[in-house]
Subunit: 143 residues, 2 copies
Amino acid sequence: MAAEAKGGSLAQRIDHLFKSVQPHGREYSYDEVARGCEALTVGTFSKTYVWQLRTGQRDNPTKRHLEALAAFFGVPVAYFFSDEVLDSVNSQLALAAALRDADVREIALRALRMDDATRRSVARIVTEISEMQHGKAPDDGKA
Amino acid sequence: MAAEAKGGSLAQRIDHLFKSVQPHGREYSYDEVARGCEALTVGTFSKTYVWQLRTGQRDNPTKRHLEALAAFFGVPVAYFFSDEVLDSVNSQLALAAALRDADVREIALRALRMDDATRRSVARIVTEISEMQHGKAPDDGKA
DNA sequence: CGATTCCGTCCACACCAGTTGACGACTGCC
DNA sequence: GGCAGTCGTCAACTGGTGTGGACGGAATCG
């Protein structure tokens, strides 16, 4: 499934849609796609622009056009976006990294529901345990 | 099908990001978001446009700007399109927002540094304590 | 064969996405 | 007090996204 949504330009992904989605046994024409998109959404869509997008002459369509194309070809809009950028950004956030750890997430969610006094007590306990393992744990290191 | 219009408009979703993602304890300013977006991607991003998007004065940004916003706030681009992604991301954002609570944040950061076995033990302890207070509390995810 | 139609391609332009720059309000600093 | 910085907001402009329309080629039909 993820074979298609991986590392390609917008033009390559659209080209792939043309080649993959052929309910009539042949590729859609640019005009068919344009008219189909117009039928599925409110705005306009010209065949010229469909051609420009597929051939890479334009690569920065608006939200409305992306939604129309995705609706016409029957794919989620996320199909047009790269996951690489997301991952690189996520990796720089310690918080996001922590949220991916099932145990840490569990701990944080439980701690959320405690009243202040209890939570503070738990915080002390957890700190003690953590320092037992690292001996003077170096805090989180940022201001 | 319903790709939008349930959880809210684009403006509402962006507004929610502002309110949820506050690593410094306060909402990002429009200028901070704009500069951050510029730093994470190629191209420009003006604070005025961020403001226009959040307030709903503009609602049809281009692919590049959607990618930049998603990268800055650490959410998948699909967040702006899909309701399913909206829900799953929102629950994570609720947790992230909660981590502004000094004690919860402290607990989570300490737990991060433990080895797997210890962390699992602590998770059990914290769960027990939490349930002592609420009696079988579900994880829930209120904002 | 000519007439019609649909195709992809290209160009010139319109309009709206996005920026610039300035304004008033607010805040800390000297 | 006055100055310097930052904030959100607004109006006017720029530029690129997106369109309309024309051209040549390739079918299909008479």
